[in-house]
Symmetry: C2
Subunit: 385 residues, 2 copies
């Protein structure tokens, strides 16, 4: 079981703070956007005498309402095709345990969300990365790259669009080519759509939009980013494949039920006005524009414009991002401030890749983002000199 690559720098950040240095956290996807007060109020106002186990698949009332939300984003599912999970994390876990046997292989375009490794490891599954490139903005690798690594043990492909860590938004054409390869080789398509609300350029395409893929798609979802409610730990596994659903339900039953109070939040969220997403989306887009512009203005830095989510990957004039990120916390400050970034090496499965890249989560307001970019700009001027 691998350690979390994002969290390994935490002790250095803590030491920096103890020295009185302000640390701008661009390292984790913890949004600063307010959790909608209406959904917090739903918990406050709930009349609960006994906080009981819910149905193992989640409260039926919540699952039924959730189908309304999915309908709005073009996903037509029934409530009995949804299992409410403890965060998106548990949806990933149930998906892996359900669809794979130990020794099976799953293909994932790298860089990818590092925790897929942890869940794959627990399920005894081998993660087979195929490399996407910062030069193309991390577009889907060509189909031939998938074909090259498919073996009789390959059982699925994991995608995340808009992507964590790259922010890349797969096009309709890219989604269609994923469909082609999944149908040709009878592979599951695990689709992590945690960031679907945050698409700035181009159209969001869900794996659930792909016709003829009903038995192949396992959607892994969460309210964490959608409603800025990461701490609620509420997600969903959605699939039209009844065998997968029934098998996942056994895992759901073994752990009894998903969190009860969070389900009240999730259910209340469906009643938020359509306009709710406008403000956070506009805010993230403004931050993206600020961040990408600032990064590309720095000598030797390249940051492709991410189409969605709230992450950007940047190539820096450095040769070891782990050392650089540690140095930022341990040895550097500018006006008594520094910045915490996520070394990209942790997002690659192929050893040695991503050594000159970092991930930046734009979860700070533009004033703080600009201050963080001032720090980074100064840091790059002196690093290694």
């Amino acid at each position: 079981m691998p350690p979390s690559p994002i969290r390994k720098l935490v002790p250095y950040a803590e030491t920096a703070k103890k020295k009185g240095i302000k640390v701008y956290h661009l390292n984790i996807g913890q949004p600063d956007i307010e959790t909608p007060p209406a959904i917090m109020d739903a918990v406050r106002n709930a009349d609960i005498k006994v906080l009981e186990y819910s149905h193992s698949a989640g409260n039926e009332s919540y699952r039924r309402k959730l189908t309304q939300y999915y309908k709005k984003v073009g996903i037509d599912v029934n409530y009995d095709q949804i299992i409410i999970t403890t965060g998106g994390s548990e949806a990933i876990q149930f998906g892996f345990f359900t669809c794979f046997n130990p020794g099976d292989e799953v293909i994932v375009p790298e860089p990818f969300y590092a925790n897929y490794n942890g869940f794959a490891c627990a399920a005894g599954v081998k993660v087979v990365p195929i490399t996407s490139s910062i030069e193309t903005g991390f577009a889907l690798p060509p189909i031939e790259d998938f074909e090259k690594v498919i073996t009789p043990k390959t059982k699925g492909i994991i995608i995340c669009s808009p992507n964590n860590p790259t922010g890349y938004l797969y096009s309709k054409a890219e989604m269609e080519s994923l469909k082609t390869i999944c149908l040709k080789h009878d592979l599951y398509l695990f689709s992590d759509e945690a960031y679907r609300e945050f698409c700035y350029d181009g159209e969001y395409v869900s794996a659930m939009h792909l016709e003829g893929m009903e038995n192949h798609v396992v959607l892994m979802d969460t309210i964490s980013k959608r409603y800025s409610a990461c701490g609620a730990r509420l997600g969903a596994l959605v699939t039209k494949n009844k065998m997968v659903y029934d098998a996942a339900m056994k895992f759901a039953q073994a752990r009894l039920s998903p969190p009860g109070l969070a389900q009240i939040m999730g259910e209340a969220a469906i009643d938020l006005p359509e306009s709710y997403f406008e403000a956070p989306k506009a805010e993230y887009q403004k931050r993206r524009d600020t961040l990408v512009k600032r990064l590309n203005a720095m000598p030797g830095v390249f940051c492709p414009n991410p189409g969605g989510a709230f992450y950007a990957m940047a190539k820096l004039p450095i040769d070891d991002c782990d050392k650089f990120c540690q140095w930022l916390l341990e040895s550097f400050s500018y006006n008594n401030q520094t910045v915490m970034l996520a070394p990209a090496s942790g997002f690659y499965g192929t050893p040695g890749l991503g050594k000159n890249e970092v991930r930046l989560a734009y979860v700070l307001n533009t004033t703080d983002l600009n201050a963080a970019m001032d720090v980074l700009e100064e840091a790059l001027k002196v690093y290694g000199k």
Copy 2:
């Protein structure tokens, strides 16, 4: 992955209810005791702008307060020996994934909590049952029975005291003999202590009380039953074995954090007055006394007096508990009422055992319990005739 044996009768109960029959639920451990209003209020009054991820091990403030609770029950641990989990279920899961490799074996006295099977299956671990008997009230099987099944692959023993499903409370002497065998064969002792607050006869002995077992004990805990807050999904894995702790933390980090609102409840619960447990404990004890007396007064029924938890196992004059429990829901009613019991067969690992036993959870008030016993008494008069 096995299906949940307790939940398989649910459709029959639903059909009975649709026919207008009142069903007394003695089948699951969902207490009817009120969740302490003070801990619900703590959530209502919490000032939360952004419901953020907590530390992967749980909020440090909660873990620090939890050490005070543990001190009161004679368990001396530091906050950094506690990982807050999503229910006791996740503590079991982390424990198994951390301490076992696929193919390893774990010994558990049967009958046992059926979901151990599910988590063992996910971790690729073989559950090796040794049989305890209703005739001895489900006392710990003799040490020789453990010795007989220990192989080089045996890595641990799971116990639950007070026990689900039997209600049996292990004595100090029994706990000491478990210590002897764990030390002799270098086995982990996984101790599920979900019901520690509810001991009616004899003294509660935690695995954490056993001296010299610091590196062997993995405590799996939950607030579900303690504060009647099953739906919160809040538990803890506690261990003084640093290697186990560090490895479990990797699983904790992969799933990011335990539920945030539940942690507020858990932390507030530490401030409940010492006297809080008196009323629920007295209530459960009254129910136990009622239930056991009623059962033993029925012809051909034997129910040993359980020392703790809120379960009793009864031997009935039947030959197939699964059929009998289904029949109660499908074909029987008395004054338009019936009763839902848990077939004991699902709690045994050895095929064929427990066929004439059922588990009864005394989670109803004594009036309803008596009504349920009236139903059962009448049912046994006519069953099979």
